[in-house]
Amino acid sequence: NTSDGSKKTIHGRFLHITDIHPDAFYKEGTSIDNVCHSNKPDRKKDFAPYFGAPKSGCDSPMELMEYTLKWVADNLKNKIDFVIWTGDNIRHDNDRYHPRNEFQIFDMNELVSGKFHDIFKNQNSKNPRDFDVHVIPSLGNNDVFPHNLFSLGPTLQTREFFKIWNTYIPEEQQHIFNKVASFFVEVIPGKLAVLSINTLYLYKANPLVDNCNSPKTPGYQLLLWLGYVLEELRARGMKVILSGHVPPIPKNYENSCYHKYNLWTYEYRDIIITGLYGHMNMDHFIPLNGKKSRNIIDSTDFIA
C-alpha cells in the first residue's frame, strides 16, 4: 500500500458487479403491471414480491440491493483484491407517474456509492481514500439526466459525479475526470490498473454522439484520453483491465467510435487483459476482430 507502506495480501481474485438499479418506489405487494410501484395485483402472478420479481420489468427493491451488498461483504470482501462496478445505480425511467429527476439520480448514486465505500474502505484508517479493497465505478446510461444524454465536461453532472465518487478517483485525476468522466486506479501499484471508461461518449443512444472523427466530439476526446493513458501504462510496464457500462459492440456504439475503440484494444494487446461491461443484463461474451477495424479505418472513406 503506497499510501501508508502497509502490506496487503493479493488474493488473485476480483468482483465484477453491475446494474443494481435500486428503486426507492418499489413496494412489496403492489402490481407488477404498475412496475411494482402501486395498485393491488389483480392475479397471483402480478404480485411484487419482497426481493424482486425476475423477468417482470420491475427494478430492484431496496432490500435486494441491501442484502446483495451484505452477502458480498460477509462472503467475498476478504477474498478479493478489487471491485469493478459498472454503473446503473438507479431505477429505469418507466413510470409516468414518477418521472425521474436529476436530484433523485444523484441522491441514489450517492447512497449506493456510500454503501460500497462503507463495505470496502480500510476500517482502520481515517483516510477516506484508503481501501481494503479498491472500488472502480463507471457511469451507466441511467445514471445521467436526461436518460442517455451526457456531454463533455466540465458540467454540473461531471462535477456531481466527481463529488459522489470522490474517494474512488485518485486526487491527481480530478481535472481530467471533470472533462471525460473517466479515470483509472492502480489496483496493484506499478503493476496492474483498472480503467473506468465513460462509454456514454461512444454510445449511439447518447444524442450528443454523432461520430468519433470530429475532434470536438466527446468520443474523440475520450479516445485521446484512452490513448495517452494506455501509452503511459505501457511505458511503465503495467497491465490493464478495461471496464465500463455499455459494451463496445456495433449494436451499441456509433460506427466510427466502435472501430476506433476496438482498434485501441487490438493495438494494445500487449497490455490489455480483458474488458468487462454491463448494461445488457445478460451473461455472455462477444469476440471482436481488431484487425478488421484496422482495415476499415485505413480505408479511404472512413473519415467521410
Binding site: 417482470s56 503493476k191 449511439k204 503511459e232 448494461h279 455472455h284 485505413d298
Partner: protein, 291 residues
C-alpha cells in the same frame, strides 16, 4: 450511406449488412419504445442470442474448422511424407494462436436487477510471478503525466480549431497521421499480453453467482407464515449461490485466453445441447423464453 458502406465492408454480405443496418438506424428507437412499453422486462432476448450466434460465433467456428483442417492435413503430410489427397490449392491458414491474436473478448455481465435472476461474477487471475518476485516497484507519481495530458488535449483541440473550414479539417483527418484518436500499430518487438499468452494477470477462472429469486421469495414467505419476523425471514432466506464456473461445460478450461474462448465458440456452434445450457446461463437460470 456511410454506415451502410462500412457495415457492408465489415460484414461482407448483404444479409448481415441488413441486420446491422436495422441496428444502427432503429436501435435507439426500438430500445426507447421497449423501455416505455415493457419497463425493464426482457423482450426478444432469445432472438438476440441467435443473432450473436449467427453474426459472431458461426463465422469464427467456420474459420476454426478451416484452420484445424489445414493443420491436421499438414501434420498428416509431415507424418507420411506425402500428400494424403490430390486437390486444388488450399488457402493458407494462420495458426490458431495467430488467428486468435486479432480478437479481443468483450465480457458482458449479468445484472443485480432481476431482469432475469440477480447475479455477479468473481474472476480469478494469475499471480504466480507476483508471488515469486519481490515487489520491486517504487510508486511513480502521476502528477506530471496528468499535468502534461491536460496540455496535450488542449493543444490537440487548438490545432483543429486553426483549420479555416471543414474541407481543410477533413483533409487533415483523412491523412490519419494527425488523428490521435487512432492508435499506431503495436510495435512488433512487444510480446503478446495476458489475454493471449498465459502470464502474470492472465485470467484463469471465474465463478458465476446468482440468487434464485423464486426459491428465495418462497422461503421468505414460508418463514413469515411460520411466525418469523420480517428481518429474520429475510436474513434466513436470502443467499447467492454458485450458478456455474469456468471449469464446467462448455468452458471446462484452465485458462481464459482469447484462443480458449474461440474454441468454446466452436463447441457452442456445433453442440446444440451446449448452446442450450449457454443460453440458460445467459438468462441467469431464470427459465426465460421469448413470448
Amino acid at each position: 450511406l456511410a454506415n451502410e458502406q462500412i457495415s457492408a465492408s465489415y460484414f461482407g454480405n448483404k444479409e448481415t449488412m441488413e441486420d446491422i443496418d436495422n441496428d444502427s438506424i432503429l436501435g435507439h428507437a426500438i430500445e426507447a419504445s421497449e423501455l416505455r412499453s415493457y419497463g425493464a422486462r426482457p423482450v426478444n432476448k432469445e432472438q438476440y442470442m441467435r443473432k450473436i450466434k449467427r453474426l459472431y460465433y458461426q463465422k469464427i467456428s467456420d474459420r476454426l474448422d478451416d484452420i484445424l483442417k489445414v493443420n491436421d492435413f499438414t501434420s498428416e503430410k509431415n507424418k507420411t511424407g506425402k500428400k494424403k489427397k490430390k486437390g486444388g490449392k488450399k488457402k493458407k491458414q494462420p495458426s490458431l494462436d495467430k488467428f486468435a491474436e486479432r480478437y479481443n473478448i468483450v465480457n458482458i455481465a449479468g445484472s443485480v436487477i432481476p431482469t432475469f435472476n440477480p447475479s455477479f461474477r468473481v474472476w480469478e487471475y494469475n499471480t504466480t510471478e507476483l508471488r515469486e518476485t519481490q515487489p520491486s516497484f517504487k510508486a511513480k507519481s502521476w502528477n506530471h503525466f496528468f499535468k502534461t495530458l491536460q496540455v496535450k488535449l488542449e493543444e490537440d483541440l487548438k490545432k483543429f480549431e486553426s483549420f479555416q473550414n471543414s474541407k481543410d479539417l477533413y483533409n487533415a483527418l483523412a491523412r490519419k497521421k494527425v488523428d490521435k484518436s487512432i492508435p499506431e500499430p503495436k510495435p512488433s518487438n512487444l510480446p503478446l499480453g495476458p489475454a493471449h499468452v498465459s502470464q502474470l494477470f492472465s485470467l484463469t477462472k471465474f465463478v458465476q453467482y446468482y440468487a434464485d429469486l423464486e426459491v428465495i421469495n418462497k422461503n421468505y414467505y414460508d418463514l413469515l407464515d411460520n411466525n418469523s419476523s420480517e428481518k429474520e425471514a429475510a436474513e434466513k432466506s436470502f443467499l447467492y449461490e454458485v450458478e456455474y464456473t469456468s471449469t464446467d461445460e462448455p468452458y471446462h478450461v484452465d485458462t481464459l485466453l482469447v484462443k480458449d474462448y474461440l474454441n468454446i465458440i466452436r463447441e457452442l456452434v456445433k453442440d446444440n445441447d451446449l448452446w442450450k445450457s449457454f443460453k440458460k446461463r445467459a438468462f441467469i437460470s431464470s427459465g426465460y423464453e421469448d413470448d
